[in-house]
């Protein structure tokens, strides 16, 4: 209930006279309730001003107007044969589209070569290091064995050569002993001659 001397709506829409308007303004300054109502009116007007203005329909519509006819898809949905035909047509269209538009080849994503190389390198290093160590150890053992055999063979050859030299030297000594014997006997024979 407004206690304003005049209707606040009239004041709000500017329908009061000037004196009446001043009285209402003075009253609003002293009456918080009326001032609050006046603010609500103003807010309502601001809100209404923000709405778009629409023009009211100019003619009357009838049920028989095409405006009220069902949409084509609704008619299609409500008709079984049409729906079946439409479904078959869509299926055929889908088949054709699928036939024409081949699916994109399944292109494999480009691998991250750097990461693969790093991983392969690490794995190779992990496997190769022990294998290399084993191979080196085996090679060294084989080399040591070969060296041992070579040294043994060289020693055997040396011993054989030494034996052969010893035999040859002994034969040469025997040869010279025989020659010496012949010479001594020949010398004695010459000395015994008159």
């Amino acid at each position: 209930m407004s206690c304003s001397p005049y209707d606040l709506k009239d004041f709000f829409f500017g329908e009061l006279e000037a004196g009446q308007g001043r009285q209402v303004e003075e009253h609003l300054e002293g009456c918080p309730e009326c001032r609050e109502e006046f603010e609500r009116l103003r807010l309502t007007r601001v809100a209404l001003d923000s709405l778009r203005e629409e023009e009211p329909p100019r003619r009357i519509a009838f049920v028989s107007d095409t405006v009220f006819e069902p949409r084509w898809w609704r008619a299609l949905w409500q008709s079984g044969p049409r729906l079946g035909f439409a479904s078959a047509a869509m299926l055929a269209a889908a088949i054709l589209v699928h036939a024409w538009v081949r699916p994109a080849p399944n292109v494999a994503l480009a691998p991250d070569t750097a990461a693969i190389e790093a991983r392969v390198g690490a794995e190779v290093a992990r496997r190769i290091a022990p294998a290399v160590q084993a191979a080196v150890a085996e090679s060294e053992a084989r080399q040591a064995n070969n060296t041992k055999e070579l040294v043994s063979a060289a020693q055997r050859r040396f011993e054989l050569q030494r034996d052969a030299d010893r035999v040859a030297f002994a034969e040469t000594l025997t040869y010279f002993q025989k020659k010496l014997n012949v010479l001594q006997l020949a010398s004695a024979d010459l000395g015994a001659r008159p």
């Binding site: 052969a164 035999v167 040859a168 030297f169 034969e171 040469t172 000594l173 040869y175 010279f176 025989k178 020659k179 014997n181 012949v182 006997l185 020949a186 024979d189």
Partner: protein, 180 residues
């Protein structure tokens, strides 16, 4: 039986028993040993054999005399400071020794005849034996090369050749040759 045969046989027996054959003494053998030592190096004056052992003779009563010596078919002249021949040199040495073998055998036959003529003390039915050892080094290829040749024949057969009662082919049949 005729009466004159018996006295004749007795007389022959007495004559034979009374004949004195000179003994085969050491001096006889030594004389021929020296003869062998001087003869063997001169058998081939162009390429003499190398005498490595003086001749040694021994008389085996009832069998005969045996002379042995040692030679090298090739004058080797080894030295402890010379390397022994190898490869083609060894084969050449063997071929040379093989080539000289027939000549040595002919010379040995001549020496046998000479011994039969010189050694009167040896009964004719006993053997004259000559053995020659051939010196080879251990590194040599000795295939086909003997290390010893021994020749022997009855002294009478050798004398028959000397007196030309038999010819050389017959002597070849009578001489026994052994190669070891």
């Amino acid at each position: 039986m005729r009466p004159w045969i018996l006295p004749l046989a007795l007389a022959a027996a007495l004559l034979a028993a009374g004949e004195e054959r000179p003994a085969v003494t050491r001096a006889v053998l030594a004389g021929f040993e020296r003869k062998l030592d001087r003869t063997i190096p001169t058998l081939d004056v162009n390429d003499p054999y190398e005498l490595l052992g003086t001749a040694r003779g021994i008389y085996l009563p009832g069998y005969g005399v045996v002379f042995t010596t040692e030679i090298s078919l090739v004058f080797s002249n080894y030295s402890p400071f010379n390397l022994p021949p190898a490869g083609p040199g060894l084969e050449k040495l063997r071929e040379k020794k093989m080539a000289r073998l027939p000549q040595l055998k002919r010379s040995m036959r001549a020496l046998l005849v000479m011994a039969a003529a010189s050694l009167d003390a040896v009964p004719p039915n006993e053997q004259i034996v000559l053995g020659i050892s051939l010196y080879n080094r251990s590194f040599e290829n000795r295939e086909g090369l003997p290390s010893q040749i021994v020749m022997q024949a009855p002294r009478q057969t050798l004398l028959d050749l000397k007196l030309e009662r038999i010819d050389s082919p017959k002597l070849e049949q009578a001489i026994r040759v052994q190669e070891l």
